[in-house]
Protein backbone atom coordinates (compact mmCIF):
# COMPACT_ATOMS: atom_id res chain seq x y z
CA UNK A 1 0.00 0.00 0.00
CA UNK A 2 1.54 3.25 -1.13
CA UNK A 3 0.65 6.66 0.31
CA UNK A 4 0.89 8.84 -2.75
CA UNK A 5 1.41 12.05 -0.82
CA UNK A 6 0.71 13.57 2.57
CA UNK A 7 -2.56 15.34 3.12
CA UNK A 8 -6.20 14.42 2.75
CA UNK A 9 -6.60 14.15 -0.98
CA UNK A 10 -6.00 11.47 -2.05
CA UNK A 11 -6.74 10.12 1.39
CA UNK A 12 -6.22 6.37 1.18
CA UNK A 13 -3.16 4.38 0.26
CA UNK A 14 -3.09 2.64 -3.13
CA UNK A 15 -2.43 -1.09 -3.38
CA UNK A 16 0.43 -2.19 -5.67
CA UNK A 17 2.21 -5.43 -6.33
CA UNK A 18 5.86 -5.86 -5.56
CA UNK A 19 7.19 -5.84 -9.11
CA UNK A 20 10.90 -6.30 -8.69
CA UNK A 21 13.53 -6.35 -6.02
CA UNK A 22 16.62 -4.53 -7.17
CA UNK A 23 19.92 -3.74 -5.52
CA UNK A 24 19.10 -1.36 -2.69
CA UNK A 25 15.36 -1.27 -3.18
CA UNK A 26 12.19 -2.41 -4.79
CA UNK A 27 10.33 -1.43 -7.93
CA UNK A 28 6.62 -0.97 -8.44
CA UNK A 29 5.10 -0.94 -11.88
CA UNK A 30 2.01 1.17 -12.33
CA UNK A 31 -0.51 2.13 -14.93
CA UNK A 32 -1.97 5.65 -14.75
CA UNK A 33 -5.54 5.07 -13.73
CA UNK A 34 -6.79 8.10 -11.83
CA UNK A 35 -5.75 10.74 -9.34
CA UNK A 36 -3.36 8.67 -7.25
CA UNK A 37 -1.39 7.11 -10.07
CA UNK A 38 -1.26 10.47 -11.89
CA UNK A 39 0.38 11.94 -8.80
CA UNK A 40 2.81 9.04 -8.68
CA UNK A 41 3.82 9.84 -12.24
CA UNK A 42 4.74 13.33 -11.07
CA UNK A 43 7.10 12.17 -8.35
CA UNK A 44 10.75 13.02 -8.84
CA UNK A 45 13.81 10.96 -7.97
CA UNK A 46 14.60 11.41 -4.30
CA UNK A 47 11.01 12.16 -3.26
CA UNK A 48 9.94 10.35 -0.12
CA UNK A 49 6.76 8.27 -0.03
CA UNK A 50 5.37 6.11 2.70
CA UNK A 51 4.74 2.45 2.10
CA UNK A 52 3.07 -0.31 4.10
CA UNK A 53 3.95 -3.88 3.22
CA UNK A 54 4.55 -6.46 2.00
CA UNK A 55 0.98 -7.59 2.69
CA UNK A 56 -1.01 -10.71 1.92
CA UNK A 57 0.02 -14.04 0.46
CA UNK A 58 2.02 -15.04 -2.64
CA UNK A 59 1.62 -17.47 -5.54
CA UNK A 60 2.44 -21.00 -4.41
CA UNK A 61 5.21 -22.43 -6.62
CA UNK A 62 6.08 -25.80 -5.06
CA UNK A 63 3.60 -27.93 -6.99
CA UNK A 64 4.30 -26.10 -10.20
CA UNK A 65 8.00 -26.81 -10.12
CA UNK A 66 7.64 -30.54 -9.55
CA UNK A 67 5.07 -30.91 -12.29
CA UNK A 68 7.07 -28.67 -14.56
CA UNK A 69 9.20 -31.33 -16.19
CA UNK A 70 6.07 -32.78 -17.77
CA UNK A 71 4.16 -29.60 -18.36
CA UNK A 72 5.60 -26.16 -17.65
CA UNK A 73 3.37 -23.81 -15.66
CA UNK A 74 1.36 -21.29 -17.63
CA UNK A 75 1.34 -17.69 -16.46
CA UNK A 76 -1.25 -15.32 -17.83
CA UNK A 77 -0.90 -11.56 -17.43
CA UNK A 78 -3.33 -8.92 -18.59
CA UNK A 79 -2.01 -5.35 -18.73
CA UNK A 80 -0.37 -4.16 -15.56
CA UNK A 81 -1.13 -7.58 -14.05
CA UNK A 82 2.36 -8.39 -15.31
CA UNK A 83 3.68 -6.58 -12.21
CA UNK A 84 2.16 -9.16 -9.95
CA UNK A 85 3.33 -12.25 -11.87
CA UNK A 86 6.79 -10.95 -12.73
CA UNK A 87 8.46 -12.23 -9.53
CA UNK A 88 6.69 -15.55 -10.14
CA UNK A 89 8.09 -15.77 -13.66
CA UNK A 90 11.51 -15.08 -12.19
CA UNK A 91 11.25 -17.64 -9.41
CA UNK A 92 9.88 -20.38 -11.65
CA UNK A 93 12.73 -19.68 -14.01
CA UNK A 94 15.16 -20.05 -11.14
CA UNK A 95 13.58 -23.17 -9.63
CA UNK A 96 13.39 -24.91 -12.99
CA UNK A 97 16.96 -24.06 -13.80
CA UNK A 98 18.04 -25.70 -10.61
CA UNK A 99 15.87 -28.76 -10.92
CA UNK A 100 16.28 -29.47 -14.63
CA UNK A 101 19.67 -27.88 -15.19
CA UNK A 102 18.22 -26.94 -18.53
CA UNK A 103 19.73 -23.56 -19.04
CA UNK A 104 18.03 -23.11 -22.39
CA UNK A 105 14.39 -23.67 -21.83
CA UNK A 106 13.77 -23.49 -18.11
CA UNK A 107 10.80 -21.37 -17.18
CA UNK A 108 7.10 -20.97 -17.54
CA UNK A 109 4.95 -20.48 -20.57
CA UNK A 110 3.94 -16.83 -20.37
CA UNK A 111 0.89 -15.37 -22.04
CA UNK A 112 0.93 -11.60 -21.92
CA UNK A 113 -1.77 -9.35 -23.30
CA UNK A 114 -2.49 -5.62 -23.28
CA UNK A 115 -4.63 -3.15 -25.17
CA UNK A 116 -1.79 -1.78 -27.28
CA UNK A 117 1.95 -2.24 -27.77
CA UNK A 118 2.65 0.85 -25.65
CA UNK A 119 1.21 -0.83 -22.60
CA UNK A 120 3.57 -3.77 -22.81
CA UNK A 121 6.69 -4.17 -20.73
CA UNK A 122 10.10 -4.79 -22.29
CA UNK A 123 9.64 -8.17 -23.97
CA UNK A 124 13.29 -9.19 -24.25
CA UNK A 125 13.70 -9.58 -20.53
CA UNK A 126 10.49 -11.58 -20.27
CA UNK A 127 11.54 -13.77 -23.15
CA UNK A 128 14.79 -14.59 -21.40
CA UNK A 129 12.96 -15.61 -18.25
CA UNK A 130 10.30 -17.79 -19.81
CA UNK A 131 10.19 -20.99 -21.76
CA UNK A 132 7.82 -19.48 -24.26
CA UNK A 133 6.44 -15.95 -24.42
CA UNK A 134 3.16 -15.38 -26.23
CA UNK A 135 2.04 -11.80 -26.68
CA UNK A 136 -1.25 -10.37 -27.83
CA UNK A 137 -2.82 -6.91 -28.05
CA UNK A 138 -6.39 -5.82 -28.66
CA UNK A 139 -5.34 -3.80 -31.71
CA UNK A 140 -2.65 -6.17 -33.00
CA UNK A 141 0.07 -3.54 -32.55
CA UNK A 142 2.28 -6.20 -30.96
CA UNK A 143 2.04 -9.97 -31.09
CA UNK A 144 -1.23 -11.56 -32.06
CA UNK A 145 -4.39 -9.54 -32.38
CA UNK A 146 -6.81 -10.83 -29.79
CA UNK A 147 -7.01 -11.58 -26.11
CA UNK A 148 -5.14 -13.83 -23.74
CA UNK A 149 -7.97 -16.31 -23.53
CA UNK A 150 -7.74 -17.08 -27.25
CA UNK A 151 -4.01 -17.65 -26.82
CA UNK A 152 -4.59 -19.78 -23.75
CA UNK A 153 -7.06 -21.95 -25.61
CA UNK A 154 -4.55 -22.62 -28.38
CA UNK A 155 -1.63 -23.22 -26.01
CA UNK A 156 -3.53 -25.38 -23.54
CA UNK A 157 -6.24 -26.92 -25.73
CA UNK A 158 -9.21 -28.71 -24.22
CA UNK A 159 -7.74 -32.03 -25.30
CA UNK A 160 -4.35 -31.35 -23.67
CA UNK A 161 -3.03 -34.54 -22.12
CA UNK A 162 -1.08 -33.20 -19.17
CA UNK A 163 -2.54 -30.14 -17.52
CA UNK A 164 -0.19 -27.39 -16.42
CA UNK A 165 -0.57 -25.39 -13.22
CA UNK A 166 -1.81 -21.94 -14.23
CA UNK A 167 -1.47 -18.49 -12.69
CA UNK A 168 -3.26 -15.33 -13.76
CA UNK A 169 -3.42 -11.66 -12.89
CA UNK A 170 -5.30 -8.99 -14.80
CA UNK A 171 -8.68 -7.32 -15.12
CA UNK A 172 -11.62 -9.10 -13.52
CA UNK A 173 -13.34 -10.17 -16.78
CA UNK A 174 -10.09 -11.79 -17.89
CA UNK A 175 -9.68 -13.60 -14.58
CA UNK A 176 -13.20 -14.85 -14.76
CA UNK A 177 -12.75 -16.15 -18.30
CA UNK A 178 -9.50 -17.86 -17.30
CA UNK A 179 -11.18 -19.39 -14.24
CA UNK A 180 -14.04 -20.72 -16.31
CA UNK A 181 -11.77 -22.21 -18.94
CA UNK A 182 -9.45 -23.68 -16.32
CA UNK A 183 -12.48 -25.09 -14.54
CA UNK A 184 -13.65 -26.81 -17.71
CA UNK A 185 -10.20 -28.36 -18.11
CA UNK A 186 -9.79 -29.16 -14.45
CA UNK A 187 -6.42 -27.38 -14.34
CA UNK A 188 -5.14 -26.14 -10.98
CA UNK A 189 -5.21 -22.36 -11.29
CA UNK A 190 -4.34 -19.46 -9.03
CA UNK A 191 -5.73 -15.97 -9.53
CA UNK A 192 -4.56 -12.70 -8.02
CA UNK A 193 -7.68 -10.66 -7.24
CA UNK A 194 -8.18 -6.90 -6.94
CA UNK A 195 -10.65 -5.08 -4.74
CA UNK A 196 -10.86 -1.55 -3.41
CA UNK A 197 -8.91 -1.29 -0.18
CA UNK A 198 -8.77 1.10 2.72
CA UNK A 199 -6.49 -0.37 5.41
CA UNK A 200 -4.52 -3.19 3.77
CA UNK A 201 -4.17 -4.95 7.14
CA UNK A 202 -7.42 -6.83 7.52
CA UNK A 203 -9.29 -4.34 9.69
CA UNK A 204 -11.79 -2.49 7.51
CA UNK A 205 -13.29 -5.52 5.72
CA UNK A 206 -13.51 -3.39 2.61
CA UNK A 207 -11.59 -5.63 0.21
CA UNK A 208 -13.56 -8.86 0.30
CA UNK A 209 -14.22 -11.36 -2.48
CA UNK A 210 -16.85 -14.05 -2.37
CA UNK A 211 -15.41 -17.53 -2.03
CA UNK A 212 -16.68 -21.02 -1.51
CA UNK A 213 -16.66 -22.03 2.12
CA UNK A 214 -14.40 -24.97 1.65
CA UNK A 215 -11.73 -22.69 0.21
CA UNK A 216 -8.29 -22.39 1.77
CA UNK A 217 -9.05 -22.56 5.42
CA UNK A 218 -8.05 -19.51 7.31
CA UNK A 219 -8.64 -19.20 10.98
CA UNK A 220 -9.43 -15.55 10.94
CA UNK A 221 -11.87 -12.87 11.83
CA UNK A 222 -13.29 -12.44 8.35
CA UNK A 223 -14.48 -16.00 8.43
CA UNK A 224 -18.16 -16.32 8.86
CA UNK A 225 -20.07 -19.36 9.87
CA UNK A 226 -18.61 -22.49 8.39
CA UNK A 227 -22.00 -23.97 7.68
CA UNK A 228 -22.85 -21.46 4.93
CA UNK A 229 -22.02 -22.25 1.33
CA UNK A 230 -19.82 -19.25 0.79
CA UNK A 231 -17.94 -16.66 2.71
CA UNK A 232 -16.16 -13.39 2.13
CA UNK A 233 -12.40 -13.41 2.32
CA UNK A 234 -10.14 -10.39 2.42
CA UNK A 235 -7.90 -9.75 -0.59
CA UNK A 236 -5.36 -8.00 1.67
CA UNK A 237 -5.07 -10.90 4.14
CA UNK A 238 -6.28 -14.24 2.76
CA UNK A 239 -5.40 -13.03 -0.77
CA UNK A 240 -4.62 -11.54 -3.13
CA UNK A 241 -3.95 -15.02 -4.56
CA UNK A 242 -6.89 -17.43 -4.45
CA UNK A 243 -7.63 -20.82 -5.94
CA UNK A 244 -9.60 -20.12 -9.11
CA UNK A 245 -12.12 -22.83 -8.22
CA UNK A 246 -12.88 -21.15 -4.89
CA UNK A 247 -13.99 -17.81 -6.30
CA UNK A 248 -17.74 -17.24 -6.56
CA UNK A 249 -18.20 -14.88 -9.52
Amino acid sequence: MLQVRDGNDPLLKRPFSLFRTIAGGIQLLYRIQGKGTTLISQLAAGDVVSLLGPLGNAYPVQGAASAASVSPPVIIAGGVGIASVFPLIESIHEVMHQSTRDTMNGGATVIYGARTAEELLDLDELKALSKELHVCTDDGSSGEKGNVLDLLKSIVPAEAGVLPVMYACGPKPMLRAVAEYAGSLGAKTYLSMEEHMACGIGACLGCVVKTKSKGQDVDDSADIEKSTEWKYQRVCMEGPVFNAEDIVW
Binding site: Q3, N8, D9, P10, L11, L12, K13, S50, L52, E195, H196, M197, A198, C199, G200, I201, G202, A203, C204, L205, G206, C207, V208, V209, K210, S221, A222, D223, I224, E225, T228, K231, Y232
Partner: protein, 309 residues
Protein backbone atom coordinates in the same frame (compact mmCIF):
# COMPACT_ATOMS: atom_id res chain seq x y z
CA UNK B 1 10.56 24.74 32.82
CA UNK B 2 8.05 23.64 30.26
CA UNK B 3 9.06 19.99 30.49
CA UNK B 4 8.54 19.79 34.20
CA UNK B 5 4.81 20.41 33.93
CA UNK B 6 3.10 17.12 34.71
CA UNK B 7 0.00 16.67 32.66
CA UNK B 8 -3.02 14.52 33.41
CA UNK B 9 -4.70 12.96 30.42
CA UNK B 10 -7.17 10.88 32.44
CA UNK B 11 -10.86 11.15 31.68
CA UNK B 12 -13.98 9.40 32.96
CA UNK B 13 -16.83 8.01 30.89
CA UNK B 14 -19.67 6.82 33.12
CA UNK B 15 -17.77 5.00 35.86
CA UNK B 16 -15.01 3.98 33.45
CA UNK B 17 -11.65 5.64 33.98
CA UNK B 18 -9.48 6.01 30.88
CA UNK B 19 -5.76 6.76 31.01
CA UNK B 20 -6.21 9.20 28.16
CA UNK B 21 -9.09 10.36 25.97
CA UNK B 22 -8.02 8.67 22.72
CA UNK B 23 -9.81 5.54 21.51
CA UNK B 24 -10.36 3.74 18.23
CA UNK B 25 -13.63 4.24 16.35
CA UNK B 26 -15.69 1.12 15.84
CA UNK B 27 -15.22 -0.64 12.53
CA UNK B 28 -11.93 1.04 11.72
CA UNK B 29 -9.73 -0.93 14.10
CA UNK B 30 -10.86 -4.50 13.51
CA UNK B 31 -11.14 -6.33 16.80
CA UNK B 32 -7.97 -4.63 18.02
CA UNK B 33 -5.14 -7.14 17.53
CA UNK B 34 -4.99 -6.24 13.81
CA UNK B 35 -3.29 -3.00 14.90
CA UNK B 36 -0.93 -4.42 17.52
CA UNK B 37 1.95 -4.30 15.06
CA UNK B 38 1.48 -0.61 14.37
CA UNK B 39 0.29 0.92 17.63
CA UNK B 40 1.06 0.02 21.25
CA UNK B 41 -2.47 -0.96 22.20
CA UNK B 42 -1.67 -0.76 25.88
CA UNK B 43 -1.30 3.01 25.50
CA UNK B 44 -4.79 3.64 24.12
CA UNK B 45 -7.50 5.17 26.26
CA UNK B 46 -9.79 2.38 25.10
CA UNK B 47 -10.19 -0.04 22.24
CA UNK B 48 -13.59 0.13 20.57
CA UNK B 49 -14.11 -2.99 18.50
CA UNK B 50 -15.96 -3.66 15.25
CA UNK B 51 -19.76 -3.65 15.66
CA UNK B 52 -21.08 -7.04 16.81
CA UNK B 53 -24.44 -8.73 16.52
CA UNK B 54 -25.88 -11.82 18.20
CA UNK B 55 -25.32 -13.92 15.09
CA UNK B 56 -22.41 -13.55 12.63
CA UNK B 57 -23.18 -11.33 9.66
CA UNK B 58 -21.57 -11.64 6.24
CA UNK B 59 -22.05 -8.04 5.11
CA UNK B 60 -22.55 -6.51 1.68
CA UNK B 61 -21.11 -7.62 -1.65
CA UNK B 62 -18.13 -5.63 -3.00
CA UNK B 63 -17.36 -2.95 -3.94
CA UNK B 64 -17.70 -1.84 -0.34
CA UNK B 65 -15.40 1.15 -0.41
CA UNK B 66 -15.14 4.24 -2.56
CA UNK B 67 -12.78 7.10 -1.99
CA UNK B 68 -14.28 10.60 -2.18
CA UNK B 69 -12.82 14.09 -1.77
CA UNK B 70 -10.98 14.01 1.59
CA UNK B 71 -13.08 11.11 2.71
CA UNK B 72 -14.49 7.71 1.87
CA UNK B 73 -17.82 5.99 1.56
CA UNK B 74 -18.19 2.54 3.06
CA UNK B 75 -20.93 -0.03 2.85
CA UNK B 76 -19.34 -2.93 4.71
CA UNK B 77 -22.77 -4.02 5.85
CA UNK B 78 -21.74 -4.64 9.46
CA UNK B 79 -19.89 -7.86 8.68
CA UNK B 80 -18.83 -9.43 11.98
CA UNK B 81 -18.06 -12.75 13.63
CA UNK B 82 -20.90 -12.55 16.15
CA UNK B 83 -20.83 -11.98 19.89
CA UNK B 84 -20.07 -15.58 20.90
CA UNK B 85 -17.05 -15.94 18.63
CA UNK B 86 -15.83 -12.53 19.76
CA UNK B 87 -15.99 -13.52 23.42
CA UNK B 88 -14.32 -16.84 22.77
CA UNK B 89 -11.63 -15.84 20.28
CA UNK B 90 -10.89 -12.15 20.70
CA UNK B 91 -11.34 -11.29 24.38
CA UNK B 92 -8.42 -13.53 25.46
CA UNK B 93 -6.15 -11.66 23.01
CA UNK B 94 -7.43 -8.26 24.08
CA UNK B 95 -6.75 -9.02 27.74
CA UNK B 96 -3.01 -8.83 27.10
CA UNK B 97 -3.14 -5.13 26.44
CA UNK B 98 -4.51 -3.96 29.75
CA UNK B 99 -6.64 -1.37 27.98
CA UNK B 100 -10.39 -1.03 28.50
CA UNK B 101 -12.40 -2.73 25.77
CA UNK B 102 -15.59 -1.08 24.60
CA UNK B 103 -17.84 -3.38 22.62
CA UNK B 104 -19.88 -1.76 19.88
CA UNK B 105 -23.03 -3.71 19.03
CA UNK B 106 -26.27 -3.50 17.07
CA UNK B 107 -29.39 -5.47 16.24
CA UNK B 108 -32.17 -5.42 13.70
CA UNK B 109 -34.96 -5.32 16.27
CA UNK B 110 -35.37 -3.90 19.76
CA UNK B 111 -35.46 -7.42 21.06
CA UNK B 112 -32.20 -8.28 19.39
CA UNK B 113 -30.49 -5.23 20.91
CA UNK B 114 -31.74 -6.27 24.33
CA UNK B 115 -30.55 -9.85 23.88
CA UNK B 116 -27.16 -8.68 22.64
CA UNK B 117 -26.77 -6.42 25.67
CA UNK B 118 -27.76 -9.25 27.98
CA UNK B 119 -25.18 -11.53 26.37
CA UNK B 120 -22.41 -8.92 26.71
CA UNK B 121 -23.31 -7.71 30.18
CA UNK B 122 -20.76 -8.57 32.83
CA UNK B 123 -18.44 -10.50 30.49
CA UNK B 124 -14.93 -10.44 31.91
CA UNK B 125 -12.70 -8.40 29.63
CA UNK B 126 -15.43 -6.05 28.44
CA UNK B 127 -15.51 -2.67 30.17
CA UNK B 128 -18.31 -0.74 28.47
CA UNK B 129 -20.90 -1.12 25.74
CA UNK B 130 -21.48 1.20 22.81
CA UNK B 131 -24.77 0.71 21.00
CA UNK B 132 -24.84 1.68 17.35
CA UNK B 133 -28.33 2.95 16.56
CA UNK B 134 -27.51 3.92 12.97
CA UNK B 135 -28.79 0.66 11.59
CA UNK B 136 -32.07 -0.43 10.06
CA UNK B 137 -35.05 -1.67 12.06
CA UNK B 138 -36.69 -4.79 10.68
CA UNK B 139 -39.99 -3.97 12.33
CA UNK B 140 -40.19 -0.46 10.92
CA UNK B 141 -39.64 -1.10 7.21
CA UNK B 142 -35.87 -0.93 7.80
CA UNK B 143 -35.97 2.72 8.88
CA UNK B 144 -32.90 3.59 10.94
CA UNK B 145 -33.50 3.28 14.72
CA UNK B 146 -31.57 6.41 15.55
CA UNK B 147 -33.57 8.76 13.34
CA UNK B 148 -36.83 8.35 15.28
CA UNK B 149 -36.94 9.77 18.82
CA UNK B 150 -39.67 7.38 20.04
CA UNK B 151 -37.84 4.30 18.77
CA UNK B 152 -34.52 5.58 20.05
CA UNK B 153 -36.08 5.95 23.48
CA UNK B 154 -37.48 2.41 23.36
CA UNK B 155 -34.33 0.71 22.16
CA UNK B 156 -32.04 2.54 24.59
CA UNK B 157 -34.39 1.80 27.49
CA UNK B 158 -34.54 -1.87 26.50
CA UNK B 159 -30.75 -2.11 26.49
CA UNK B 160 -30.39 -0.10 29.70
CA UNK B 161 -32.63 -2.62 31.45
CA UNK B 162 -30.26 -5.44 30.50
CA UNK B 163 -26.91 -4.02 31.54
CA UNK B 164 -25.25 -2.22 34.41
CA UNK B 165 -22.08 -1.62 32.43
CA UNK B 166 -21.32 1.91 31.25
CA UNK B 167 -23.63 2.39 28.27
CA UNK B 168 -22.60 4.64 25.42
CA UNK B 169 -25.18 5.44 22.76
CA UNK B 170 -23.69 6.17 19.34
CA UNK B 171 -25.98 8.65 17.64
CA UNK B 172 -26.88 8.78 13.98
CA UNK B 173 -25.96 12.14 12.44
CA UNK B 174 -28.56 11.71 9.69
CA UNK B 175 -31.19 13.65 11.61
CA UNK B 176 -32.52 17.20 11.60
CA UNK B 177 -32.13 17.82 15.33
CA UNK B 178 -29.15 16.03 16.87
CA UNK B 179 -29.80 17.77 20.21
CA UNK B 180 -33.23 16.17 20.47
CA UNK B 181 -31.84 12.68 19.78
CA UNK B 182 -29.10 13.28 22.34
CA UNK B 183 -31.59 14.29 25.05
CA UNK B 184 -33.76 11.27 24.28
CA UNK B 185 -30.77 8.95 24.66
CA UNK B 186 -29.72 10.65 27.89
CA UNK B 187 -33.25 10.44 29.32
CA UNK B 188 -33.41 6.75 28.38
CA UNK B 189 -30.38 5.92 30.48
CA UNK B 190 -27.25 6.49 28.40
CA UNK B 191 -24.09 7.14 30.43
CA UNK B 192 -22.34 8.79 27.50
CA UNK B 193 -22.89 9.60 23.83
CA UNK B 194 -20.68 8.93 20.81
CA UNK B 195 -20.98 11.20 17.82
CA UNK B 196 -20.86 11.18 14.94
CA UNK B 197 -21.41 7.99 12.99
CA UNK B 198 -21.02 8.21 9.21
CA UNK B 199 -23.18 10.52 7.09
CA UNK B 200 -25.22 8.74 4.44
CA UNK B 201 -23.84 9.41 0.98
CA UNK B 202 -23.47 8.06 -2.52
CA UNK B 203 -21.22 8.22 -5.58
CA UNK B 204 -21.85 7.41 -9.24
CA UNK B 205 -19.39 6.18 -11.84
CA UNK B 206 -20.07 8.47 -14.79
CA UNK B 207 -18.66 6.01 -17.30
CA UNK B 208 -20.77 3.05 -16.31
CA UNK B 209 -23.61 5.34 -15.11
CA UNK B 210 -24.06 3.11 -12.10
CA UNK B 211 -23.62 3.72 -8.36
CA UNK B 212 -20.04 2.97 -7.31
CA UNK B 213 -21.03 0.95 -4.24
CA UNK B 214 -22.87 -2.31 -4.69
CA UNK B 215 -25.11 -1.25 -1.82
CA UNK B 216 -25.75 2.08 -3.64
CA UNK B 217 -25.61 4.16 -0.42
CA UNK B 218 -22.73 4.22 1.99
CA UNK B 219 -21.45 6.02 5.06
CA UNK B 220 -19.18 9.01 4.54
CA UNK B 221 -16.23 9.33 6.92
CA UNK B 222 -12.90 11.08 7.06
CA UNK B 223 -11.79 14.72 7.16
CA UNK B 224 -14.63 15.74 4.83
CA UNK B 225 -17.16 15.27 7.66
CA UNK B 226 -15.22 16.94 10.46
CA UNK B 227 -16.90 20.37 10.37
CA UNK B 228 -20.31 18.68 10.56
CA UNK B 229 -19.15 16.51 13.45
CA UNK B 230 -17.66 19.45 15.35
CA UNK B 231 -20.89 21.38 15.00
CA UNK B 232 -22.91 18.43 16.28
CA UNK B 233 -20.66 17.90 19.30
CA UNK B 234 -20.92 21.62 20.02
CA UNK B 235 -24.73 21.56 19.78
CA UNK B 236 -25.13 18.42 21.87
CA UNK B 237 -22.76 19.67 24.58
CA UNK B 238 -25.18 22.52 25.21
CA UNK B 239 -28.16 20.25 25.89
CA UNK B 240 -26.93 17.16 27.79
CA UNK B 241 -24.97 16.59 30.98
CA UNK B 242 -23.41 13.20 30.16
CA UNK B 243 -19.92 12.98 28.61
CA UNK B 244 -19.47 12.99 24.84
CA UNK B 245 -17.06 10.97 22.74
CA UNK B 246 -16.30 13.02 19.63
CA UNK B 247 -15.33 11.56 16.27
CA UNK B 248 -15.51 12.30 12.58
CA UNK B 249 -12.42 12.96 10.49
CA UNK B 250 -9.85 13.21 13.26
CA UNK B 251 -6.47 12.97 11.52
CA UNK B 252 -4.14 14.62 14.06
CA UNK B 253 -3.79 16.26 17.47
CA UNK B 254 -5.32 19.59 16.47
CA UNK B 255 -8.40 17.82 15.13
CA UNK B 256 -8.76 15.94 18.42
CA UNK B 257 -8.39 19.19 20.38
CA UNK B 258 -11.08 20.77 18.24
CA UNK B 259 -13.54 18.08 19.35
CA UNK B 260 -12.51 18.41 23.00
CA UNK B 261 -12.95 22.18 22.88
CA UNK B 262 -16.35 21.74 21.22
CA UNK B 263 -17.42 19.62 24.19
CA UNK B 264 -16.01 16.10 23.89
CA UNK B 265 -14.57 14.37 26.95
CA UNK B 266 -12.92 11.72 24.79
CA UNK B 267 -12.27 11.28 21.07
CA UNK B 268 -12.24 8.35 18.66
CA UNK B 269 -10.01 7.96 15.62
CA UNK B 270 -11.58 6.18 12.66
CA UNK B 271 -10.66 6.53 9.00
CA UNK B 272 -7.24 7.96 9.94
CA UNK B 273 -6.21 4.47 11.08
CA UNK B 274 -6.40 3.38 7.45
CA UNK B 275 -4.16 6.21 6.34
CA UNK B 276 -1.66 5.88 9.16
CA UNK B 277 -2.13 2.95 11.55
CA UNK B 278 -0.12 4.78 14.21
CA UNK B 279 -2.42 7.84 14.35
CA UNK B 280 -3.92 7.09 17.78
CA UNK B 281 -0.51 6.98 19.47
CA UNK B 282 0.67 10.13 17.68
CA UNK B 283 -2.40 11.95 18.97
CA UNK B 284 -1.86 10.76 22.56
CA UNK B 285 1.70 12.10 22.42
CA UNK B 286 0.52 15.23 20.66
CA UNK B 287 -2.07 16.02 23.33
CA UNK B 288 0.48 15.68 26.03
CA UNK B 289 2.96 18.01 24.27
CA UNK B 290 0.19 20.51 23.61
CA UNK B 291 -0.71 20.55 27.29
CA UNK B 292 2.89 20.99 28.36
CA UNK B 293 3.35 23.81 25.91
CA UNK B 294 0.15 25.54 26.96
CA UNK B 295 0.69 24.77 30.66
CA UNK B 296 -2.54 22.85 30.97
CA UNK B 297 -2.59 20.33 33.83
CA UNK B 298 -5.84 18.47 33.23
CA UNK B 299 -7.11 17.52 29.78
CA UNK B 300 -10.66 17.58 31.11
CA UNK B 301 -10.31 21.29 31.75
CA UNK B 302 -10.32 21.78 27.98
CA UNK B 303 -13.66 20.07 27.39
CA UNK B 304 -16.14 22.58 26.03
CA UNK B 305 -13.86 25.60 26.39
CA UNK B 306 -15.07 26.89 23.01
CA UNK B 307 -18.43 27.60 24.65
CA UNK B 308 -17.10 30.07 27.18
CA UNK B 309 -16.09 33.66 26.80
Amino acid sequence: MVDSVSVNLEVTIGNLKLKNPVMSASGTFGYGPEYAEFADLSRLGAIVVKGLSLEPKEGNPPPRIVETASGMLNAIGLQNIGISAFIKEKIPLLKYFNTPVIVNFFGDSIDEYAQAAERLDGVDGIHALEMNISCPNKQAGWAVFGTDPAITSKVVTAVRNKTRMPLIVKLSPNVTDIGLMARVAEDSGADALSLINTLTGMAIDVRTRRPKLSNVRGGLSGPAIRPVAIRMVYDVYKVVKIPLIGMGGIMNTDDALEFIMAGATAVAVGTANFVNPGTTIEIIDGLSSFMKKEQIKEICSLTGVAHTG
